[in-house]
């Protein structure tokens, strides 16, 4: 009998369409696996069995009626708890939204529904997507399926771990400074952050509005392309949604890399980087040349400033975005005699330390007398970071680099040192600042037990096809870079 949990989204949807497997059987198999192993991982905040089975039955009924099932027919999907889901509790990993049940669906949720996907539950995350280890969740930690003493990365750590542990073939994450790519790298799965504006943010609970973007986790590049083609596209409800069509992403796959010029930025191979990681990534890049790509060294000189820019821009926007959690209309309220006390105590009790830290930093960066020196300056340097990419993309079609300077670190290792934690994102931040599409694909392992390493591929704005093409060619050429976690059955 086939192990349904080891199949890809493309394979599962085919089985449902052909009638070889029912959506219900697929949902039950994945739910059973999640229930069996998630107490060891902590990927899901909530498994929504009943809802999942209802959705699965609806897909089976649709097929029975002779209607063609959608592109993700019966495919189980995990949803980061940052996405507004009608009728399903959405906490953003925060106490301040404990028990909050949205009255409306995010656009991506509507599109996944329309494609006949089946929602298995909401995945764990750093509170309001602020973190790189998923240790900032107010509810639970998530463990790395390759080594349960280590972090899965973050902030979409639950989504990455759920896919790696084969609880779902697909999970949706969000990426503001690396929150899809970095956990994908640490959990040995594929994670795509599309171009800013490619996927609607309607219903994505905002962290940093000019950076937030939704994307998929999957175990194959083809699955990533399939899911992205479902969720991408213009949405009139999001004013930052790009009014342009989405090219055929699946058509970009299955090709070699002949004719492509790929840049390797020297600033991404720096001192302090784990030499084993550098070695694995260098070897992966060499493989791209064997596939026909022309490699060249390029320079992105403002890379070292990206972290500073990011932490000013993202925290400034976050400080404003998180002002709505005030105990008035929804979420937590700590009763108090005066209005100001109610505000201050509600927010003190509802937010965790990292969120408070970022609200403080962002408020400071925007406050009178500091705006020009911090927020204003960061916006200008952001321009310089973007220009670096514009220049290099005049010469090359894609840029490849490590996703993260290290493999997954140990739980608790960096919780007391915010700056060290932030450094986990140094290689993913620049593409976020420039709004570029970027993917992380597994490219090898380091250490024992073996920890996965990701190769990051960045493309021009709206050029997801090239990013996916390079990732897919590499994936097919290096099957050994993908394996299942040994510690799990």
């Amino acid at each position: 009998m086939i192990d349904l949990c080891s199949l890809t989204a493309v394979e599962l949807a085919d089985l449902v369409r052909s009638g070889e497997a029912s959506a219900r059987a697929i949902a039950e198999a994945h739910l059973a696996r999640a229930h069996a192993i998630d107490d060891r991982i902590g990927a899901f905040l909530r498994l929504t069995d009943q809802k999942a089975l209802e959705m699965a039955d609806a897909v089976d009924c649709k097929r029975a009626r002779g209607e063609p099932p959608g592109a993700l027919a019966g495919v189980p999907v995990g949803l980061k708890d940052l996405l507004s889901t009608k009728g399903l509790e959405t906490t953003c990993g925060s106490r301040i939204l404990e028990g909050y049940v949205p009255r409306y669906d995010a656009t991506v949720i509507e599109r996944l529904r329309a494609a006949d996907a089946v929602f298995l539950g909401k995945t764990n995350m750093d509170e309001f997507a602020m973190g790189s280890s998923t240790e900032n969740s107010a509810y639970q930690i998530t463990r790395n399926p390759f080594d349960p003493t280590r972090i899965p990365g973050g902030s979409s750590g639950g989504s990455a771990a759920a896919v790696a542990a084969r609880m779902v073939p697909i999970a949706i994450g969000t990426d503001t400074g690396g929150s899809i790519r970095q956990p994908a790298s640490h959990c040995g799965v594929t994670g795509l952050k599309p171009t800013y504006g490619r996927v609607s943010r309607w219903g994505l609970v905002a962290f940093a509005s000019s950076l937030d973007q939704i994307g998929p986790f999957s175990r194959t590049v083809r699955d990533a392309a399939l899911v992205t083609s479902v969720i991408a596209g213009h949405d009139p409800r999001d004013s930052t949604s790009a009014p342009r069509g989405v090219p055929d992403l699946l058509a970009a796959l299955g090709r070699d890399l002949g004719g492509l010029k790929i840049g390797v930025p020297r600033e991404y191979f720096v001192e302090g980087m784990d030499p084993d990681v550098a070695h694995v990534v260098r070897a992966a890049i060499a493989r791209l040349a064997e596939l026909g790509a022309a490699l060249c060294e390029v320079s992105l000189p403002h890379t070292e400033y990206a972290l500073a820019v990011y932490y000013l821009v993202a925290t400034a926007e976050a400080s404003s975005n998180l002002s709505r959690y005030d105990g008035v209309r929804y979420g937590l309220r700590v009763p108090a005699a005066s209005l100001d006390q109610m505000y201050a105590r509600t927010r003190a009790a509802g937010f965790g330390p990292e969120v408070k830290r970022r609200i403080m930093l962002g408020t400071y960066a925007l406050s009178a007398g500091y705006y020009d020196a911090y927020y204003g300056k960061a916006q200008k340097v952001r321009t310089l970071v973007c220009r670096d990419f514009d220049e290099v993309f005049g010469e090359v079609d894609a840029i490849v680099a490590p996703t993260s300077p290290t493999a997954a670190f140990r739980l608790g290792e960096r919780v007391d040192d915010p700056l060290q934690m932030y450094l986990a994102d140094v290689f993913t931040l620049p593409a976020s600042l420039a709004g570029l599409p970027a993917i992380s694909v597994p490219c090898g392992f380091v250490g024992a037990p073996a920890l996965p390493i990701g190769l990051q591929i960045m493309g021009r704005q709206f050029d997801e096809p090239t990013v996916l093409r390079v990732a897919d060619a590499f994936e097919r050429a290096a099957p050994g870079a993908r394996r299942s976690p040994e510690v799990l059955p």
Binding site: R201, W202, S239, S320, S367
Partner: protein, 485 residues
């Protein structure tokens, strides 16, 4: 106190918040209708639910550009929305979406008519922003209640330059601004319902001094009367503070109309720091020349031009012109009646204007931008023509108007049905005159003895005998000749 006032010159600038009359809110599709049950016109966007995003209302932008053009502003091709951050229960997102660095309209001016002549008042900017919800404080309750129906309603904030030098100028400026916004159809000018609100920045300085003094901001002024009273009070107060050798405190003060005073709001420990920054959810608003040109071409006549035309082309007094042009529907009605009146327009302008100002405006039902008059404009024109032709007297005309209004029929029909045509038949009137003279021999003797004032007595009797329909001119002539013997 008045002596002190003489030594100080007031410097006043007004900030007006005017609701733009769109059907839906600025950033969501919720209705802007006034008076709905609390929290019935709300959605994820205007409640600030997690994950909701704003999408701009095109008509709000068009209306705001109309405002900019009407105020002679430069309309910025690329403007930006910014977030103004502060906490308040009626502010659902913890920030108001407004415009800060790059407002839609900048650098305009309007002219106001003062007794000393016209005066130009600068407009610093006119930008678009969303309204907040409404807090209510039930008496005796430990809670305040918040209604978000108004949350997200589009406003234009018009920041006037500190060019006003008296409460009278301030009131005139406000009236003119209101008339302009109503004329261009973007605002209903309703101060009571809060769709047209005004804050005043007031300072005084010793006469002759160039620098401005410390200003206070006056809030809660919701009528034209209170604008004058509040500013006058504040000017006197500040003058006497300075006269006493003290300094004016920069603060926000509320007008209390029951007590006729301004009083300071409880001052907060720290100054507000709104942390404005560009709203990352809203890209720049780009408007091209064609868009602006179209709005310019559709722009109705402004009140100042209309007043000028009424005076120059129609010969009305400046007072009459100002009254008629104060509400666009009143002016429209006047012009429609005049058009119906036909050929001799200039001749009809004054009497028709009198009808509108003295009679029809008083009974009209004026609700915001709408006005319903007692009779259609065509009927008013017909009424005046009946007067002109001598068919009815002015006195009868007033009664005809009442009846025409009540029954919804044309004045000519009323005149015909009731037989109200003036009697000009000399023989009939002469008979009536002879009857009156024969019936009052004592009065006739007294009149002939020199009590000429009794003439009116005879006229009245004759008019009564002819049921008011005797042509007064004929009555006069006949009485004179019959009594004058």
């Amino acid at each position: 106190m008045s002596a002190a006032t003489d030594r100080y010159e007031p410097v006043i600038g007004l900030e007006v918040h005017a609701q733009l009359l769109t059907a839906s809110k600025l950033f969501c599709g919720c209705s802007t209708a006034f008076g709905a049950p609390p929290n019935s016109h709300v959605c994820p966007v205007c409640l600030g639910l997690p994950g909701a995003l704003p999408v701009l209302n095109r008509r709000a932008v068009e209306y705001a550009i109309r405002v900019g053009l009407a105020l002679g502003c430069e309309v910025r091709r690329s403007s930006r929305f910014a977030r103004k951050n502060y906490f308040y229960p009626d502010l659902p997102k913890g920030y108001q979406i407004s415009q800060y660095e790059l407002p839609l309209n900048e650098s305009g001016a309007i002219e106001i008519e003062m007794e000393a002549g016209p005066k130009r008042i600068g407009i610093v900017r006119a930008h678009v922003e969303e309204d907040a919800g409404k807090n209510v404080h039930p008496t005796g309750s430990p809670t305040s209640l918040v209604d978000f129906n108004r949350s997200g309603v589009p406003l234009v904030e018009i920041v006037g330059a500190p060019d006003l030098r008296s409460a009278a100028e301030a009131a005139e400026y406000l009236k003119e601004l209101r008339a302009i916004l109503m004329a261009i159809g973007v605002n209903d000018g309703n101060l009571e319902e809060g769709s047209f609100r005004c804050d005043a920045n007031v300072s005084v300085r010793p006469v002759g001094q160039a620098e401005f003094g410390t200003r206070t901001e006056l809030k809660n002024i919701n009528s034209f009367k209170f604008v004058r009273q509040a500013i006058d009070f504040e000017v006197r107060r500040q003058s006497s503070v300075l006269e006493a050798g003290e300094a004016v405190r920069q603060e926000t003060r509320l007008w209390n109309d029951a007590r006729g005073e301004t009083f300071p709001m409880r001052s907060k420990e720290e100054a507000e720091d709104y942390r404005y920054f560009p709203d990352p959810d809203l890209p720049p608003v780009e408007v091209d020349a064609a868009f602006i040109d179209r709005i310019q071409n559709e722009m109705p006549e402004l009140p100042s031009a209309r007043r000028r035309r009424f005076v120059k082309a129609l010969g009305l007094s400046t007072y009459d012109a100002a009254v008629l042009a104060s509400h666009p529907r009143v002016a429209d009605y006047f012009e429609a009646a005049l058009a119906e009146y036909g050929a001799a327009r200039a001749q009809g302008a004054k009497p028709v204007a009198n009808w509108v100002i003295n009679t029809l405006m008083k009974t009209a039902r004026i609700d915001g931008l709408e006005a319903i008059f007692a009779v259609p404009a065509a009927h008013l024109a017909q009424l005046q023509k009946l007067v002109d032709e001598g068919t009815i007297s002015l006195t009868v005309a007033r009664k005809v108007l009442d009846e025409a209004a009540e029954r919804g029929v044309a004045p000519a029909q009323v005149v015909e049905e009731k037989g109200l045509c003036q009697v000009s038949d000399v023989a009939a009137i002469e008979a009536a005159c002879r009857d009156v003279i024969a019936a009052h021999p004592a009065e006739v003797e007294a009149f002939r003895g020199g009590r000429e004032k009794l003439f009116g007595f005879f006229v009245g009797k004759v008019m009564k005998a002819t049921k008011g329909q005797g042509n007064p001119k004929v009555v006069n002539e006949l009485l004179h000749s019959l009594l004058g013997a």
